[in-house]
């Protein structure tokens, strides 16, 4: 059976996030790239652009993340399950009330941690389907004394592209 040995994979999709601290669902534009340095290990970078949330009384108004780390791959052939660990930073702003008016906080650079599990299926030398589940952790320290937990479970899936070679 032909197997695909990727060197560089990349993808862009929409990602859904469920806050672990409040009944909020968030929407992100999510991009990711993996550079395979061996059959089992890839160096991985992700970026999330906060596109909005489905909640009237929003607390966080911006939460864009950049993550970098590595992934370990278990699969062989076309099926590629993996786990990844990626620390990073989120660029965050919250909203609080001054004299009844909603006021945005200053931008904060917030350290975040993330762990991911997922899988890819290589359908051709240049394309694959993927799905992944990511747990985020972090705390936004606002201009307001209240802190806002950024713990969130994010789901992404879709079609990605890769450069690589084929083997048997």
């Amino acid at each position: 059976m032909t197997e695909f040995l990727p060197i560089l994979t990349t993808m862009a999709t929409l990602s859904l996030g469920w806050s672990n601290n409040a009944a909020e669902q968030n929407l992100y534009v999510h991009g990711s790239s993996d550079l395979y340095v061996s059959e089992r290990v890839s160096l991985r970078g992700d970026a999330y652009w906060f596109a909005g949330e489905q909640h009237q009384q929003r607390r966080i108004i911006d939460n864009h993340s950049v993550l970098a780390g590595a992934a370990f791959h278990f699969g062989k052939g076309r099926f590629d399950p993996f786990v990844a660990m990626q620390p990073g930073v989120s660029f965050t702003r919250s909203e609080f009330r001054v004299d009844g008016e909603r006021t945005p906080s200053n931008w904060k650079v917030t350290p975040v941690a993330s762990a991911t599990m997922g899988a890819r299926y290589f359908v051709s030398p240049n394309f694959h389907f993927f799905t992944e589940l990511r747990q985020m952790a972090g705390t936004h320290l606002s201009d307001d004394p209240r802190t806002i937990g950024l713990a969130e479970t994010r789901v992404s899936f879709g079609l990605g592209a890769q450069l690589g070679r084929t083997g048997r």
């Binding site: 340095v37 590595a70 705390t139 320290l141 201009d143 004394p145």
Partner: protein, 208 residues
């Protein structure tokens, strides 16, 4: 202790220089001696292995901590540690490889009280944010383990205690709370738990 680690490592050293790099997540506990002051940080490190039993780690950390909901603390660390392996590393082919480490770092700490926008009882205007900072150096020591998933890739949990050698800097939550930096010296520290992922690069002309 650093000198002892280096001497002991050099005595065992084989001329085998390797370089690795990685990212890490840090949990900071017991800030200012308080169990409820836990922070989360992001950082990176590179390691230069200078012998079979000894390596060095060069790191950067950025850690933020909520101080009882009343103040925020941010720590920036830049420093280095010597890592000593009690067991032969055998080219990092062993799946589990424990080590001890000790080192030194420079740090910049800021404690700020976010009052802007909040009208405290009895006042008519929002409180001003207050801020205190400290630039100092620190020493750290601890233990860790490499879990070598391949010859070139490892996950390394580490626990180390970092003692800041500088002026006293603290947050006092009484009243509206205030951050204070004084000239008095203090041996204040925190316990740092790191989990890092690392990749060992191929060095031209060096057997890995």
């Amino acid at each position: 202790m650093l000198t002892l680690l280096l001497l002991f490592g050099a005595a065992e050293a084989a001329p085998k220089l390797t370089l690795s790099g990685g990212m890490r997540t840090t949990v900071s506990a017991f800030s200012e001696g308080r169990l409820d002051r836990v922070g989360l940080g992001v950082g990176g490190q590179s390691r230069i292995q200078i012998g079979d039993r000894v390596g060095t780690e060069w790191f950067l950390d950025y850690i933020s901590t909520d101080l009882e909901g009343g103040a925020h603390r941010v720590d920036d660390h830049i420093g280095w540690s010597v890592m000593f392996y009690p067991l032969p590393t055998d080219g990092f082919t062993k799946p589990v490889l424990p080590y001890v480490l000790a080192g030194h770092c420079f740090d910049y700490t800021v404690i700020s009280i976010p009052g802007a926008g909040h009208i405290h009882p009895g006042e008519t205007s929002p409180a001003e944010a207050t801020r205190a900072s400290r630039l100092s150096s620190a020493v750290q020591f601890g233990v860790g383990t490499h879990f070598n998933l391949t010859e070139r890739f490892d996950i390394s949990p580490t626990a180390q205690y970092m003692i800041h050698l500088g002026n006293d800097l603290h947050y006092d939550p009484k009243g509206h709370g205030h951050a204070e930096q004084s000239r008095a010296g203090a041996l204040e520290g925190h316990l740092l738990f790191n989990v890092s992922v690392n990749y060992r690069f191929k060095m031209p002309g060096v057997r890995s």
